[in-house]
Symmetry: C2
Subunit: 333 residues, 2 copies
């Protein structure tokens, strides 16, 4: 597996949404994150100490984790000198890119010579089945979204913790590279061949005890022109009993797709329920998770109260407000 602690590589990221992996690790495995390493022109910061690889290695870092995920998931040529610098400093390289690290010319040889490892966490297991649609035991919640990169993983992690606080037997189930690095296991769903996408989603949350909850990390959005197919396979394969809709109220257009509006919440709720009913007629929407990082406390409180009133669902920000309302809805199912 992956060796800690981590030096989080930010490359030349221009927007925090490109650095989901780095922020996710900082926020959910803080004890493992020793520092950050950014290139000139980088406009993103984790507010961690900045180290070059050699300095981080001297402080005890074990791995350089590529903390950025550009569209398409390919290793950028601008990063390559930094990867060699990390290998030379004796760090493992950990990547969630679609491009295997061994495809960077010379990197595998350099790693072998230095005795460090190239670890690709976006490799799905071999032999995945196609979906069966078979009903599994145990209970499942899936986080879904009006767009990508707006809080589905954070919401799933926070809900898992909140259920644990209520004494519920629950597991976070990772479906993306960052979630896998946080949880230590999972399947990178967007790297699975599409014929096996629903089948992989079925494997992620296997049969379990009747009162056990799997909290499945959502992917993409049904309203996204590039990734909706991944989302639908996950919705069908996870056969959720409960859905939580995640939304960023500041986003009226899909991130990086300005021709595509974010859907109204009531439309998103209906479309996700409609999709999920194919494999679980009893599915319920149990809450709405807002990313209110851009709002002041009064605006946040007003948004949550107004939406709760209008849609009749518990509304919360997993990083800012209590989750008791949504947890009660989950436990009432």
């Amino acid at each position: 597996m992956v060796h800690k602690p981590y030096l989080l590589f930010l490359g030349d990221a221009e927007h925090f949404s490109q650095a989901k992996t780095a922020f996710g690790l900082r926020d959910w495995t803080a004890e493992a994150c020793l520092g950050q390493f950014s290139l000139p022109g980088c406009k993103v910061s984790l507010d961690l100490p900045e180290f070059k690889p050699a300095a981080a290695a001297a402080k005890g870092a074990a791995s350089l984790v590529i903390g950025i995920a550009p569209v398409g998931g390919r290793v950028s040529t601008t990063w390559i000198p930094a990867l060699f610098e990390a290998v030379a400093a004796g760090l493992d390289i950990v990547s969630g890119m679609h491009t295997p690290l061994a495809e960077v010319p010379g990197l595998a040889q350099a790693a072998g010579a230095r005795g460090v490892r190239l670890v690709d966490v976006r490799r799905p297991p071999a032999g995945l089945p196609t979906g069966s649609g078979r009903k599994r035991s145990g209970k499942r919640l899936l986080t879904v979204g009006t767009d990508c990169a707006l809080g589905k993983k954070y919401t799933a992690l926070a809900l898992t913790n909140a259920l644990h606080d209520h004494g519920v037997d629950a597991d976070f189930r990772a479906t993306g590279q960052t979630g896998i690095l946080i949880a230590g296991s999972g399947i990178p769903l967007d790297a699975v061949v599409s014929d096996f996408c629903a089948g992989a989603a079925e494997c992620i949350s296997p049969d379990a005890a009747p009162e056990h909850w799997d909290i499945v990390e959502g992917q993409g959005s049904l309203f996204h022109p590039a990734y909706a197919g991944v989302t639908l396979g996950l919705v069908h394969g996870s056969q959720p009993d409960a859905l939580v809709l995640c939304h960023d109220p500041a986003r009226t257009r899909l991130f990086a797709f300005p021709d595509f509006p974010t859907p109204p919440l009531d439309v998103a709720i209906e479309r996700y329920l409609e999709a999920a009913r194919l494999t679980n007629l009893a599915v319920r929407m149990v809450g709405i998770s807002f990313n209110t990082s851009a709002l002041d406390p009064a605006a946040r409180a007003s948004l949550l109260a107004d939406t709760e009133q209008r849609l009749g669902l518990p509304c919360f920000d997993p990083l800012k407000t209590p989750l008791d309302g949504v947890v009660q809805r989950i436990l009432a199912l």
Copy 2:
């Protein structure tokens, strides 16, 4: 490319729906199909002469085409002696399975020694992009279905021919292995990594002249618990101006998924339009294609007339009735 003529391998198929590739090649490239080769227990026939590989080779066959596509697309161990027999007879092996032929132990060596080729047509090209959602020039029609394996490819091929008969510049665009063998090009969409599925669908029907029609072969079904994600990626990426819904009136349950009913036609129409509007607000359903092979002429005529009356759409069987009604709808767009 693939060398003709073909000996079509049926293996031990138990149902015609497992032999879509063999039937597709027989029906759309009849001149290339020399005969069939089935194993004991096979319950499917193409009504072509039955040959062993050596006899087919003596008649001039160039390739054994694996004509069956079991769920999951893996090479069955029961076929392996037949594949070696074909290699020994000097035939290329052509496969649309997910399993590369070279993974059959010893087959690549045997093929190399005999001077024949192993041809995998279910390999997507490298470097596919993620979807962009960008509007492309030209016009597109996509066939969609209430289930898998009920006529989406046949409908697309028949519509392409009918448009040619009306003097329209149109191309059949293949998205599956059989279509690729018929058309000579295309991308096997279900073999694409799910993150790139919509992007691959965008590549399949590129920018074209304003009056040009791409007739895109549909895949899977939005109502299928295993494959709906592939379908949705194709719907979004092909950004169709026109949809044709394909249905088998004899099928009340999804094939091989008896817990899943086929959707009512009006529900299917609404859900496909709803999905397609994400990338093309002007999309229209222009007709319903029925597979009426199990009906007598009176029952066929009555089904088509009644449905046409009820839903207000041209209804046809692409192998049994004229396509003038749907072609007029297409040309009116």
